[in-house]
């Protein structure tokens, strides 16, 4: 899986020169256990899965399987994140550790948070960290505010994807500002993925209909009553939204009805 695909895929998502069939990226947090994690992620069809980097427990559970046994890097593109980091320095340290952990793997998700209540991105720190990471050879996918100017700056720094929020992380509030996302999609050339705030399948479909290149979610699947079924729903929604975007929707005609059936050849009206 680590070598680039030889055969060009139809409508592939291309990130840092590598092609993916699935436009749904999923997190691996908040599941009941590893078995549920594995089944939900299989059902989602995702090829890119995020992981967090944390201190290991010492002297406990020495023989237990690890997440990377359940989601082997040979099968999935592992996307280490910097969740929980509030400074550029901590985010950079975390991703250097991740690169060592994953044998030199360069594709990473940068998120530098502003405060613990909103988990809103701290964009000055995010921009600083992105600059350092790009200079060190990382391929940075950056979680960001839905601000077109900042998204463009992340692209100019050299990020391989920008990932604006739809609404707050873990809120399930859906897409609160489709207009901003639309401006970002129109202006930024690297892939734009909506990250954070998706609540249900229609939210993912709307993101894709706007023209997003992909969607990243975790809680919407993990905290559904039936995560495996929701993972399946999200897969279908992302595919449906992408197809609708490519198909090109009909024009909206707010004050004008137009019959779908022929207006001629009706039977004689009752007298």
């Amino acid at each position: 899986m680590n070598a680039p695909e030889k055969v060009a895929l139809e409508d592939a998502l291309v990130i840092a020169g590598r092609e993916y069939r699935s436009r749904l990226l999923v997190g691996t947090g908040k599941y009941r256990d590893f078995d549920e994690t594995r089944r939900a992620i299989e059902a989602s069809g995702a090829e890119i899965v995020t992981v967090a980097i944390r201190r290991t427990n010492i002297g406990q559970n020495a023989g237990e399987p690890s997440l990377l046994d359940v989601l082997p890097p040979s099968r999935y593109t592992i996307l280490p994140n910097t969740a929980g980091c509030y400074t550029a320095q901590d985010a950079v340290r975390t991703l250097r550790l991740a690169r060592e952990l994953l044998d030199g793997h360069a594709l990473v998700k940068l998120e530098v948070l502003g405060d613990q209540q909103s988990l809103y991105p701290n964009m000055p720190e995010t921009l600083a960290a992105a600059g350092t990471l790009v200079a060190e050879g990382f391929q940075v996918m950056a979680y960001c505010n839905d601000d077109p100017i900042l998204a463009k700056q992340l692209e100019e720094i050299g990020c391989v994807a920008v990932m604006p929020l739809a609404s707050l992380i873990g809120s399930g509030m859906g897409i609160l500002n489709p207009w901003n996302l639309q401006i970002i999609i129109d202006r930024v050339k690297v892939p734009v993925l909506v990250d954070a705030g998706i609540g249900t399948a229609s939210d993912a479909a709307i993101a894709m209909e706007l023209g997003c290149d992909g969607v990243l979610m975790n809680t919407a699947i993990a905290k559904a009553r039936d995560p495996v079924r929701m993972a399946r729903a999200m897969k279908a929604a992302v595919e449906a939204g992408r197809d609708a975007f490519l198909a090109g929707r009909m024009a909206k005609k707010p004050y004008e009805a137009a019959a779908s059936s022929p207006t001629t050849g009706l039977i004689e009206k009752a007298r």
Binding site: G27, T28, G29, K30, Y31, T37, T50, V51, A52, I53, R54, R55, T56, I58, G59, A62, S66, L67, L68, I78, P80, N81, A83, R93, R96, L97, A98, E100, L101, L102, I169, G170, L216, M217, N218, T219
Partner: protein, 68 residues
């Protein structure tokens, strides 16, 4: 000479400065998929056998866990 280091925030005492390989074996982490940082700098896996801890080192040992 005895050394005290901090591993993931907790103090650890050794009778003599161990290599990283020896320390990880003692902590039952040998062979696990981990990454190690000393005082903010990565210690590559390839250097575990020939790099020794020093008194006062602050060590972080991390793994991949579920996250979004």
């Amino acid at each position: 000479m005895p050394v005290r280091v901090h591993v993931n925030g907790a103090p650890r005492d050794f009778a003599a400065a161990p290599t990283f390989e020896e320390m990880l074996a003692e902590l039952e982490l040998a062979g696990r998929r981990i990454a190690v940082e000393r005082n903010g700098e990565i210690v590559p896996r390839s250097r575990f056998a020939d790099t020794r801890l020093a008194d006062g080192d602050r060590i972080e040992v991390v793994v991949a866990v579920g996250g979004g």
